[in-house]
Each structure stands twice: as C-alpha cells, then as structure tokens.
C-alpha cells in the first residue's frame, strides 16, 4: 500500500496554477524524489502533503487516511525539514530540539535521550549547548534535519536538504539519509541537485509548471530520455544550421544547448556521412539525470 497518495491534487493562487491535478503514490520505505526548476510547484505540493496548505481541489491520503480530516494525527508521524531556516535563534541547540519535543508531547526524559541521539547522528553532539549564532550554515542545516527526526517520523519530507552545504556536509547528510532509509523510514525529497537525486532516490518525478512530466527510477529516466551516452559537439556557428538539418534528416536524437549540440546515443554509432568529420571535436560522456531534467523542463529559465 502506498504511504502517500494524492488524487488530482491542485493548488491555485489567484491566476497561478501552482499544482495541476497531480496524482502521486509514494511507497512505504522508499525515497521518492521530486525534481523541477524553480517555480515548478514542488514546494506548493509538499506544503499540501504536510498539511500546512489546503488543496484547492483533489485530496491527499497519508497512511491510508484523509489528510484534512486527520491532520494532527498525521503531522505527528511526519518529519519536516524546510528549505528555509526556521530554527529558534534565541535558544541553544539543545533547547531548539527540546522545544520541538514538547510540540510532539514527548516526555522529558525520552526527549533528552532522543535529542542527544539525533545530535550524535548528525555529528552535532559537540554543539549541544551552543547558541545558534555560533553555528555555521552547514551546522544549522544539519540541526534542521536533526529536528525533523526528533519525533521518530515514519515519513520524512525534505525540501532541498543539502542546499548551501559543502561537499563534506553534503556527503554526511546523504549517508545519514541512506541509513534512515535502511531503517524503513519513507522519504519525500525535493531537490535540484541531480547527484543527490541519483544517490538517494529510488524513484524520481520530474515536475514542471505544476505537472508531473515523468516518473521512473533515476536510471530508467536517463535511458528513456538521454540514452547511455551524450556526445557534445561544438560546431562553427556558420555550420550549425546545416548540421542541425543533417541530424534531423538522419533521425538522430539531439538537443541544441547554447551553441553546442548534445547527441543522445543509445549505443551503436548512428552518425554517418558528412557529420563524421565533426566527431573530431567531440566530447563523449555518460548521460545523466541532468540531461533528462534539461530536456524535459526546457533549456531556458522558466521564471
């Protein structure tokens, strides 16, 4: 049974259709990624799923229950890690966590034990009694994640959990999230970091202009939309037009990206004739989720 299920979920702000009839099913224990450019509707979708924003129409079921009718009960098993820092700047690290345990009615002894546990998990145990202003940006982000785990959630919803982290911090968080998944905690992850999606997610939905464009495993998406290899060619501007025409004629799957051509290769050499001479100036690389993302959501800025 899916642990989160949305049916024709829609959110409209005045003229803007932020989320447009989205049907999603997240399975228990999986890490589900939500990818999309800025303004795609990811945050609006997540806000509805975490019961802090009412849908304009459609419905959300979490753990088989209607979210609107059981908001309090469902919010008790959700861990929410927001994109923006909303920690309490006037309290210490430990007080931040302890304040949160009260919202979940966790008894004090248990609360202290869990606070120490999550601090240790995110390698913040040395900062237990520090003031918030003594924390680096990366530590604050880890504290946000620690706080999201304080109620031993069954579902963790993370909105850009590694934004602004250095590589060490990012890998630390990825490790911890992978551990969490192995413990059976379901994760719904919003990200613009393709590597993050590949490392963490079992399935990925690509969202654009309020709609889910495609949904599959990261590998599945790559082979479906970007083949196994990308050949990048940078022709002379004068030759560009002729090349594009020739590629189209030969039926090669390609995309024009800012003065370059990306040819999506599925294995066997597809290019013949006149084009072959250009292959000298070719850069070959494996296809990535980023290629899929750019293909599906367009090259230009959406905003």
């Amino acid at each position: 049974m899916s642990i989160i299920k949305t049916t024709n979920l829609t959110k409209k702000f005045k003229e803007l259709l932020a989320v447009d009839r989205v049907n999603l099913e997240v399975e228990e224990g999986e890490c589900f990624g939500l990818l999309g450019p800025n303004g795609a509707g990811k945050t609006s979708l997540i806000r509805m799923i975490t019961a802090v924003s009412p849908p304009t129409s459609g419905e959300v079921q979490v753990l088989g229950k209607d979210l609107q009718a059981h908001a309090r009960q469902i919010k008790a098993v959700l861990g929410v890690v927001p994109q923006l820092d909303n920690l309490d700047p006037d309290l210490t690290v430990l007080q931040n966590l302890m304040t949160f345990t009260r919202y979940f009615d966790i008894p004090k002894n248990e609360a202290l034990r869990r606070s120490d546990e999550v601090l240790k998990l995110l390698e913040l145990d040395g900062k237990r009694d520090s003031r918030l202003r003594e924390l680096s940006g990366g530590m604050k982000r880890r504290l946000l994640i620690a706080r999201g785990l304080i109620n031993l959630p069954r579902i963790v919803v993370l909105d850009e959990p590694t934004i602004g982290l250095d590589p060490q911090g990012r890998h630390l968080v990825w490790n911890k999230l992978a551990d969490l998944k192995s413990q059976g905690v379901t994760q719904l992850l919003c990200t613009q970091n393709m590597e993050e999606a590949v490392v963490l997610c079992d399935r990925v939905a690509i969202m654009h202009q309020g709609k889910i464009l495609s949904l599959d495993t990261p590998g599945g998406l790559v082979s479906r939309y970007a083949g196994s290899e990308v050949w990048e060619i940078e022709p002379d501007p004068s030759e560009m037009e002729a090349m594009v025409r020739e590629l189209k004629r030969q039926g090669v799957d390609f995309e024009e990206v800012g003065g370059k051509l990306h040819l999506f290769q599925t294995g066997a050499d597809q290019i013949k004739g006149e084009l072959v001479k250009h292959l000298k100036r070719l850069r070959q690389r494996p296809s990535t989720l980023e290629d899929v993302f750019l293909r599906l959501t367009g090259r230009s800025l959406v905003e």
Binding site: V52, N86, L87
Partner: protein, 254 residues
C-alpha cells in the same frame, strides 16, 4: 469556526523559555519607565495638583499606570514580538508543521502576551505598594485583572498583526491607538474634565474600563456599574480573541 486546543501551552512555554533567556535585554527598561512616570507625574507634577477628594495625585495615577503598562506589555508582545516570530524567524511555520494548529499557535501567543501583562502589573503593583500607595486588600486581585486585560489587548494587537503588510505599520498602532488611550482613558485626570460627549467616546477605548476597575481595587470602593464594566472587558476579549484566530488562519494558511 476552528478553536484552539490545550496544546497552545506548548507555544506559551516556548515564549517563556525565550523570555527568561533574554529577559535582561528588555525587562529592566519596562520596570524603569513606570517608576519614572510615577515620580515625574506623581511627585513632580502632583505638587501642583489639588484633587477634590483630598487624595494625593500620585495615589490617583498609580492604578492607571498599572493598567497602562500592563496594556503596553501585551501590545508590544503581540505586535512587534509576534510579527518578528511570524515573518522573520518563521517560528509559526515551524510549529504548524508539528501537531499544533494555527489556532494553537495564536492562542499561545495571546496567553503569553497576557502573562507579560500580568508580570508587569505585579511589578508595578509592588513598586506602588513600596511607595505606600495601595490601601486595600482588594489590590491582590490586580494581577488577575491585568491578565484579563492582557488577553484583551493581546487579542486586539494580534488582530492588527494579522493584517499589517510590514513591521513599520505598528507605528500607527501605537501612535494612533495605544498612546491616545494612555492619555484619554482617565489615567492622569478624571474623565469628568471633558464635555459629556467626549466622556462617552472615551468608553470606546478598551483601556478606560480597565482603569476604572483597577482604581476600585486599589481604593477598595466599588460601585454597581463596575460589574458591567467587567463584563464589557470579557466581551471585548472573547470577540477579539476569536477574530484574531480567524484572521491569522487567513494570513498563514495559504
């Protein structure tokens, strides 16, 4: 209409913890100012003022000072304080992602504002008692009245906070609403100095009934109309409390 649950106490606790961590950054100022007012107006100006009933001027103004500063406490807490938590620190957003609802958060804020009023009331009452200005044991009820008053002013402030676009808008709230009440609610002179029409108008100001009740508790002299005055405070509190829950939900839940 959605109501709040007992969980509002969690928000109250959060605000209490922050307050007692930072109290030294604001509390001394809020104690010093009423003392200055009592001294400047009561002792300084009071030397030139003769009251008809032979009361000293400082005795006359003491209950109004208690009521006024209790009003200021709740008003500051639920305008600037709540707005900073809501808009800058995003504290409300963090809390409503837990089992608490918007109504729990707002009720917690208002009850905390009322607690600040009560704390202020107690402190100024103690100062007034030290000046030997308190003569009736009924004065022991002043903290409770200050709490109720705080609920009322916190609710009114919260209603305003739910509609302001920016923090600067609170200047209007204080210069056009709170400060005029401080001067025209019978704190510094009896309202009988004004023409009857102005006297009736001053009853629109929610501070006026509180000043009347506090004055009666300090002197121990009660009149039947005070019951209606008390009920007026309760009614205003209930109305503004629930209004602010509704308008805050409208602001926060989009």
């Amino acid at each position: 209409m959605r109501s709040f649950s007992w969980r509002f106490i969690r928000v109250w606790q959060r605000n209490r913890d922050v307050f007692f961590r930072l109290w030294h950054s604001e509390a001394p100022g809020s104690i010093a100012e009423p003392i200055f007012i009592l001294l400047a107006m009561g002792v300084g100006l009071g030397a030139y003022v003769g009251l008809v009933n032979g009361q000293s001027y400082i005795e006359f103004i003491a209950p109004g000072i208690i009521a006024s500063y209790a009003m200021f406490s709740a008003s500051f807490e639920c305008t600037y304080g709540s707005f900073i938590r809501m808009e800058y620190q995003k504290t409300f957003d963090a809390i409503i992602a837990t089992p608490l609802s918007v109504e729990d958060v707002i009720a917690g804020e208002i009850f905390w504002g009322a607690t600040r009023s009560m704390m202020t009331g107690v402190i100024i009452l103690a100062i007034a008692a030290a000046f030997q200005l308190i003569h009736s044991p009924w004065a022991l009820a002043i903290p409770a009245v200050a709490f109720l008053e705080g609920l009322m002013f916190a609710s009114i402030a919260m209603l305003f906070t739910s509609v302001v676009p920016a923090i600067y808008s609170f200047n209007y709230y204080f210069t056009l609403f709170i400060t005029p009440m401080f001067f025209f609610s019978g704190v510094f002179f009896p309202l009988s100095s004004f023409p009857p029409i102005v006297q009736s108008l001053s009853w629109i100001a929610p501070l006026t009934p509180v000043v009347h009740i506090t004055r009666a508790l300090v002197s121990g002299e009660f009149q039947p109309y005070l019951l209606w005055v008390f009920l007026l405070i309760v009614a205003l509190t209930v109305i503004f409390f629930y209004l602010s829950l509704v308008t805050m939900r409208r602001r926060l839940i989009v």
